[in-house]
Amino acid sequence: MDRSASSQVSSAERTRRRELLEEWANWRKRVEADLASDRAALGQQLAANTDDEEAEEVD
């Protein structure tokens, strides 16, 4: 890991890098939120199925 970024990079390049990092962070936020809601929906579905099974046992 000997090659670190040079301090000679232009300010345009620095701006580009900052934008890339920001773009990635925003994308991750969106995807993680989508996944969380998908997971919650799936969890509810599973819970509902479990409830049905219990109801059947009672009957």
Binding site: M1, S4, L21, D34, L35, L42
Partner: protein, 327 residues
């Protein structure tokens, strides 16, 4: 960063995998053997013996209780991790090229090769309660994917889709319930050699013989990042923690090489900044192409398996953890 050399295979490595805790490393090779190692010191925990052909692929479930392996002997085998007992051996018409546990650990997917009139298949088996009850020899689903041969595959987030990578450089989203190909995208010029999911499976990395690796969003199959190298790639992995890096590796077989003078440096694991798409470092050591790369789930070490028959485990130095990419 002194590597630990795992010497226990007599032929080239085909795949290596850490378990979820990262304390164990599983390796498979053309020598028919599955090995389990302690990742911190490289001592061998045990072997899983029974395959009579090259073992192409291995995976371990999230609780490190079950192991699955796929082989050129046309079988996939399910193993009890703790005692090495073979719990199930599924037989097929052709070799098994890829296996993987689903995110919920209840199923495995496997890919069989097309050969001698047998089409390629993507099959799903239930292995729920596999440790305590006999698992079924019959698949839940057999999918005959249309189009070019599938070389790699993995479960996506929440096991909603299976992502398959094909010989023509395309990736496809397959619905595991219906077997339907939901979407496809040709992202590489040549065959896909590896496909590894991010921790939450919302994106993945591919490696290709076209000398590049790519980060792709699972849901859309959109290419987000590209890493272009000067050598055909056999493996690519995403660092899950510590640094926003990816690690890629490959190299050409000696017999494919025309100019030996340019060989130096081709058998290196290359570290790239995942988001900025810039190479940040290389780790050398193998005497032949790198076939498989895995990264510790905590980002503390990484391991590479080579055509040379060695697994090299590298524990990162302190400066790796404090390294900051200068913006």
């Amino acid at each position: 960063m002194r590597p630990i050399l795992l010497q226990g295979h007599e032929r080239s490595l085909t795949q290596i995998k850490y378990n979820r805790e990262g304390d164990l490393l599983f390796s498979v090779s053309k020598d028919h053997v599955v090995n389990a190692w302690f990742s911190h010191n490289g001592e061998r925990l045990g072997t899983y013996e029974g395959h009579i052909g090259a073992v192409w692929t291995v995976d371990v479930n999230s609780t490190t209780t079950l192991l699955v392996s796929g082989s050129a002997d046309n079988t996939a085998k399910l193993w009890d991790v703790s005692n090495g007992k073979c719990l199930m051996s599924w037989e097929f018409n052709t070799a098994v090229r890829r296996v993987q546990f689903s995110e919920d650990d209840k199923k495995i997917l496997l890919i069989t090769e097309p050969r001698m009139g047998f089409p390629a298949t993507l099959q799903i088996f239930s292995i729920e309660n596999g440790l305590t009850e006999p698992v079924s020899s019959e698949p839940l689903e057999v999918i005959h994917p249309q189009g070019p041969k599938i070389t790699v595959a993995a479960w996506g987030a929440l096991d909603k889709y299976i992502v398959a990578g094909r010989e023509n450089g395309s990736v496809a989203l397959i619905d595991p319930q219906t077997g339907e190909c939901v979407s496809t995208n040709k992202i590489h010029d040549l065959t896909l050699t590896d496909l590894q999911m991010s921790t939450d499976r919302t994106y993945f990395i591919t490696s290709s013989k076209d000398k590049s690796a790519k980060i792709v969003e699972t849901e859309s199959l959109e290419v987000l990042k590209t890493y272009v190298t000067d050598t055909p790639l056999n493996s690519a992995a995403i660092m899950p923690k510590v640094q926003e890096f990816v690690v890629v590796g490959g190299g050409q077989e000696a017999m494919d090489v025309t100019r030996t003078s340019s060989r130096q440096g081709k058998f290196e694991c290359r570290f790239w900044h995942k988001i900025l798409e810039e190479e940040v470092g290389r780790v050398r050591g193998h005497f032949g192409p790198i076939n498989t790369i895995a990264i510790h789930p905590d980002g503390r070490s990484f391991a590479s398996g080579g055509e040379d028959g060695y697994v090299r485990v590298h524990h990162f130095d302190d400066d790796f953890f404090t390294f900051k990419f200068q913006i």
